[in-house]
Point group: C2
Chain length 102, copies 2
DNA sequence: ACATAATATGAACTATAATTCATATAGTTT
DNA sequence: AAACTATATGAATTATAGTTCATATTATGT
């Protein structure tokens, strides 16, 4: 895989997280690890689409992959995602409750 | 201003942060508060563009505004942005040092 | 009330990212 | 090695977001 060089990690990482499909994948992986195909089935979207997104999530260090035969099992980097998610929740309750559906 | 109702705060917020211009604004405001026009001048971009972005940043609760005559002075919600930024820095050093320019 | 300064707004345009589709690759099983 | 399963890849298309431009608004000073 070609090496990615980035000048602004914040921009890249937040952009990566700011996508509905990718966030759906993250949300699914919060429960437990999944095979690529299972993610696609669960989310009801194309295998290739999930593959593209997983690649990016992996490149950003948000998910990790374990190979088992032809299968690739993706797991979440909870060490980053959980506190990140908590921070957002906290922000919402504190600063913009009124923006969100309750 | 019309009320915004959102179903997925994570998506909206990260998307908002995942934009170079908006991040430039945030970075500038990390130093000190600025008038809208000054931000535009400093970043070398259009007044209207900055206005659009500030609106969104404000809607997300990332910046606040204080009115002084016709001027509007924007300040950063450091309570959210600082820990968020730190989390990303930590993530980078721990999980993807090799992705970034040193 | 008029002129001015600062900022906001919305529509048109442009750039970028997301998705699909067809196909390639890489392990596995027989 | 041929057939199969799981996943990856890249180009083409489609959708979405960013930017610009012209104009509107809002407060202030004369």
């Amino acid at each position: 895989m070609s090496r990615i060089i980035i000048d602004n990690p914040h921009k890249l990482f937040f952009e990566t997280l700011g996508n509905r499909t990718r966030w759906n994948i993250i949300h699914l992986l919060l429960g437990k690890s999944h095979r690529a195909t299972d993610i696609a089935v669960r989310l009801g979207c194309e295998q290739s689409l999930v593959s593209h997104h997983l690649k990016r999530l992996e490149a950003c260090g948000f998910v990790r992959v374990n190979t088992n035969g032809t299968e690739r099992i993706y797991s979440l980097n909870t060490e980053t995602i959980r506190p990140l998610s908590k921070l957002v929740d906290k922000h919402v309750t504190k600063f913009c409750k009124e923006l969100c559906k309750s």
